[in-house]
Subunit: 349 residues, 2 copies
Amino acid sequence: MIGTPSTATGEARFLAALHHQQPDATPVWFMRQAGRCLAGYRALRERYDILTLAKTPELCAQITRMPVDAFGVDAAVLFADIMLPLEPMGVSLEIQPEVGPIIHNPIRSRADVDALRTIDPATDLAFVVDAIRMVRAELDGRQAVIGFAGSPFTLACYLVEGRPSRDYAIAKSFMFREPRAWDALLEKLSTVVIAYLRAQVDAGVHVVQLFDSWVGGLSPADYATHVQPHVARILAALRGTPTIHFGTGTASLLEAMADAGGDVIGVDHRQLLDVAWDRIGHDRGIQGNLDATRLLAGWEATSAGARDVLRRAANRPGHIFNLGHGVLPDTDPDLLRRLVDLVHVESAR
Amino acid sequence: MIGTPSTATGEARFLAALHHQQPDATPVWFMRQAGRCLAGYRALRERYDILTLAKTPELCAQITRMPVDAFGVDAAVLFADIMLPLEPMGVSLEIQPEVGPIIHNPIRSRADVDALRTIDPATDLAFVVDAIRMVRAELDGRQAVIGFAGSPFTLACYLVEGRPSRDYAIAKSFMFREPRAWDALLEKLSTVVIAYLRAQVDAGVHVVQLFDSWVGGLSPADYATHVQPHVARILAALRGTPTIHFGTGTASLLEAMADAGGDVIGVDHRQLLDVAWDRIGHDRGIQGNLDATRLLAGWEATSAGARDVLRRAANRPGHIFNLGHGVLPDTDPDLLRRLVDLVHVESAR
């Protein structure tokens, strides 16, 4: 049915989808929605670096709320970087603009792994907890709040490599050469991720997303051996909180990822949403999956792609609309606003 | 059966696999086998840049033969760059070490597309033709000779983007925004690729590989609309010559790629070889697919991965052993030699 969306809040719409109930319209948010596509964010970035913004609760909360006003999305996602929990573990890092995270002391041995500390998020990452409380209070039930963490594999890729990479050859060769040290690294990272996500839940997020962004670089056999048990432990530890389990390039890992857990599986544009949903099972939710580059091509390409995603989702319960990966920096924010409206109007039940 | 390989030549072994007959052992070569992992190549690179080496037939032939002696592979692959046919089309380019191809006049409009010229490979790329003749004469039937070209999608990604990219956002947004200009670009590139590959066949290569290295960044629907018809035209034009159709990250494109053609489909390590072969059909050959990063981890990781690939191939006719993508620059050449021996010995029929 095409029509005007009801007056349901974004929070109600989002929670209905997370609980596999039928919302009044398909909820929508965008990965990296609080970022460089927003003029307000760019203005703040002229005065502060990324880590300062993320570590100052008032600024973090302000940025987290920006896309709610700018785009009308149904959920605010905490403005944070997946590297944040690594600093209190003893990792020295910076986020270089245009490049990404740079680690000054990359992990290259079992001794390096053993030297990493576990953390107490309530004190070590108190700024995240404080920012979440502020956002929850300010949104006051109008939008859902999403917390997140990087998965141990994706964090380990950065930690071992020391910087973003196309193929994560150093990280993966460490995994192949020293499987026990690798296992210890992912075990320790998983313990930190569990504590970090629980702290976010305690502070008030409605749902957490686990970003396994680079997992698509693994063979299915290596994923099953070296990654899946750790992800399964994290998602089991969070039982009771809705979880979104996301990766890119996961067309050959989908069943294994779904087996590891997640109420909702996030897929990128490389798969057809209906085919992917058939594979993970319709008792699970699915998130995705418009190709983010369509937004660089204008409204015609954007709307055609969005309608194709909605057609494949077929208004089944459990679909959360999103891009395939993060909003690209050069995206016109007006297109994101129109996209949110299109999703809401054309999916209205 | 485990045993000593017979005295069959690499050429015979390779051609048997291409024609879906049972060779005496599984043939093996490596993408980018003639490259930085070889001391002889690095010595030449100290004196000449990559394009000079590729354009000087004697040097090109010498490099092309290096991995035959160094590793014992069953086929020599022409030392060349996929960008070579673009220069006579009017593209100004350089290959930057550590970066890759840089285009000084990237394609950003229909007018840019129309300004590209088609080529006559016999004159415009005579150095390639000459190098192939030399290699064929020097190998004298001991090893097969592989020619290749970039696919129109992968070439267009470089041409529009102007440099290597993680997501090819500029190229893909051009495809979405100006689908007719994109189609004209791929049409023109396909015409050039057909002429270029035919010239290689006329000069004596036994088989050609079409490298669609970046095609895994597309959704299956966009591949079918914007790429597949062009690839199908190229592979149909080469009927009579064995063809290998290669891409990376193609787990959701495999059937569509196989439909486009290719006697052998090349898959990377992200898929399980047996699962991929079931999907493309056992009447087709398959090439792959050891994770190249295993070679950075030493012999134990390399041999375990190779045995897993061979087990999944199960000595069915039509398997050509290769890595999932190119040899990584820091690979120990001794491991490549041992890997060739392992494949030959453990697959001996």
